[in-house]
């Protein structure tokens, strides 16, 4: 009896189907991997932007002015350092408050001096500066930089430590809502009664992008409102 076997045609059809299935699977796999990589990159980019904007929001919302108007350690100033505006952007310096006391300090039995050595300074008003320029004589850094000093010492131009908040930011600009308009200047040193803007609009550009991004942050400690704008405060503007 003759043994049954595949015909050439059957083998060809089977081979073509197998090739089509393998090729289809391969293409689908490659497409899935590419899509996944693209998606991951987009998510990563979005996460970086979200993290940056969350941090910026937290920093700006910590802005506070001293209750005593004469206290020199409180300010909110755009471009405090003379001639600091560069092509790459501006710098905004302000006094800030509200950080939580670190939990390890709360549990530490070490004395005051030892804790100062271990944790640095705790409590009080801090001075925060946002900008794209390196302050002082350290190695120049690029991106959005944040300088912080605790306690705020009344000199808004220098002091403290500077770190990179985002290396992707190539330019940075600030605008301030005065209760009626968005204005491009804010300097509590020239105000009779120091006041915070109702909101800050941050316009920034990321490396590799050709369109600015905009972040608007409301300042909860501001008393500037539509009914009580800056312009009514004895000509402070």
């Amino acid at each position: 009896m003759r043994r049954s076997a595949f015909t050439l045609l059957e083998l060809l059809v089977a081979a073509i189907i197998a090739v089509m299935v393998i090729a289809g699977s391969g293409l689908a796999y490659e497409s899935a991997i590419t899509t996944q990589a693209r998606h991951a990159a987009r998510v990563e980019q979005q996460n970086r932007i979200t993290k940056l904007e969350d941090r910026l929001t937290t920093l700006l919302q910590s802005a506070v002015l001293p209750i005593e108007n004469e206290n020199p350690a409180g300010y909110f100033i755009l471009n405090a350092l003379s001639g600091s505006t560069t092509q790459s952007g501006q710098r905004l310096v302000f006094s800030a408050f509200g950080d939580r006391v670190r939990w390890d300090a709360l549990r530490s039995d070490e004395d005051f001096e030892t804790q100062n050595q271990r944790y640095g300074t705790l409590g009080g008003l801090a001075e925060v500066e946002l900008g794209t320029e390196t302050i002082g004589e350290g190695t120049p850094q690029e991106g959005l930089l944040v300088r912080s000093q605790r306690p705020a010492d009344g000199d808004p131009t220098q002091g403290g430590e500077q770190e990179v908040l985002s290396a992707d930011v190539t330019s940075l600009e600030f605008e301030f809502y005065d209760g009626a308009n968005w204005i491009t200047e804010w300097d509590t040193q020239t105000q009779t009664t120091k006041r915070l803007p109702a909101a800050v609009r941050v316009t920034y550009l990321l490396d590799g992008e050709d369109q600015n991004r905009i972040l608007v942050v409301r300042l909860p400690e501001s008393d500037v409102t539509l009914e009580n704008p800056l312009t009514t405060d004895g000509g402070d503007e």
Binding site: A18, P66, I67, N71, G74, L106, D111, T121
Partner: protein, 413 residues
């Protein structure tokens, strides 16, 4: 079945198996990546929801504070004091909830106003007292156990002495001798000269329970009008005899009630009239004073020369309340020199409040404290900060569980 046919079928099985394994691996990779993204998004969502809950609580508190009757004394029976039933009520917003409490800031001791005699009655070391006074005063020479720039400039992370009032409560952590643990937890190793709270040493308050900042209120009489400055013009006030009025004019400059109450001819009735109608300065706002109506037992006992019985009498009167400072004269034991010694510490009208909020999203709690001042009927946030402990229920004297709830928004799920 032949062996070759079996091998062919085996190859097909292996091919299908490999394909399935590949697809499963791909799906598993995608799922893992998605899970990480979802977790990150969920954490951010929780943080945002917590923030919104706290903002909601603050808005609710500001609304309550905006309807305080101008010129009325600050009482524990006021509506603002009942909001959230001292933290024992849950405000439910969908799946989330928050608890809140409004506290009169003047129920506590002002960090900038407390004199040495008052600080010495608190659980503080001499080093802490001297250093605190050195921090806020302009002299450049330190007290015996205090610290000025010479000390702070020599620290590993150096800075200068403020030489001015504290701006924030936690600024005290910059002052020599005040570590976070010593400020936020009871200093059980420091004995006090008086018993601040009846009970054992373990039940004594921490310094953070006693101090606050920017306390005070308007200088008003029982009609809600500004008191007369004892330093200006003729003092023609009902209840103050001409002889006493002349004595007050002769004693100018007047800076304290004590000066006026110790003048000859001042009996209990005259003392009441002085406290009700005159002010020892022209300041429209009395900063750093303690409110008779809301002060805690520990704070009342911290007032120098305050008789313990008088402190208890004041506490028992808080349910009905003091409508004018002169009612201090009705407290047994507070007459003559004893009254003169304590009168300058108190007021009955407050303008600054502390809002405590504890938001709960899922299993995570987020706390916030917000200092609010009401001026001209308009409440304004002065400062907001995050308490050092994630769950401050014990420090705030809140129960673990709430006793009632208000549903602001039903859970739609």
């Amino acid at each position: 079945m032949s062996r070759r046919a079996g091998r062919r079928r085996g190859s097909a099985f292996i091919f299908v198996l490999a394909t399935v394994v590949g697809l499963v691996a791909l799906l598993a990779g995608l799922a893992s990546s998605q899970r990480t993204d979802i977790r990150a998004a969920s954490a951010r969502s929780q943080a945002l929801r917590s923030k919104l809950l706290i903002d909601s609580a603050v808005a609710r508190a500001l609304a309550e504070l905006s309807i305080i009757e101008e010129g009325a004394p600050t009482l524990l029976s006021d509506e603002w004091a009942q909001l959230g039933t001292q933290g024992d009520q849950d405000f439910v917003v969908g799946r989330d909830r928050f608890r809140m409490q409004i506290v009169d800031a003047s129920s506590q001791i002002d960090l900038n106003a407390a004199p040495r005699e008052q600080l010495e009655r608190l659980p503080m070391t001499t080093e802490q007292i001297d250093s605190l006074l050195d921090w806020r005063t302009t002299e450049t020479t330190p007290l015996a156990e205090g610290a000025k720039d010479d000390f702070y400039n020599a620290l590993s992370t150096p800075y200068n002495t403020a030489l001015r009032n504290f701006e924030t409560l936690d600024e005290i952590l910059l002052v020599r001798g005040f570590t976070a643990k010593r400020f936020y937890e009871p200093q059980t190793d420091v004995q006090t000269s008086v018993v601040l709270v009846s009970g054992s040493q373990d039940e004594q308050p921490s310094l953070s329970d006693l101090f606050l900042i920017h306390t005070g209120g308007p200088n008003l009489n029982d009609q809600g009008a500004a008191k007369t400055d004892a330093n200006t013009g003729n003092i023609q006030v009902p209840g103050i005899p001409p002889a006493v009025a002349l004595a007050i004019q002769g004693a100018r400059p007047i800076t304290t009630y004590s000066q006026m109450l110790n003048l000859p001819g001042v009996n209990t009735q005259v003392a009441e009239a002085i406290l009700n109608n005159l002010a020892p300065n022209a300041n429209p706002r009395q900063a750093g004073k303690i409110n008779l109506n809301t002060a805690t037992e520990a704070v009342l006992n911290s007032v120098p020369e305050m008789p313990a019985d008088a402190a208890q009498s004041i506490l028992s009167r808080q349910s009905t309340g003091f409508t004018a400072l002169g009612e201090l004269t009705s407290i047994p034991g507070l007459t003559g020199p004893a009254l003169a010694a304590v009168a300058d510490y108190f007021l009955v009208h407050s303008d600054t409040y502390l809002v405590r909020v504890l938001a709960q999203v899922g299993g995570k709690r987020t706390a916030a404290e917000i200092l609010v001042r009401v001026e001209g009927g308009l409440p304004r946030v002065l400062q907001r900060w995050t308490p050092p402990d994630e769950d401050p229920r014990i420090r705030w004297n809140w129960q673990d569980e709430t006793t009632s709830e208000v549903v602001l928004k039903e859970d739609s799920q």
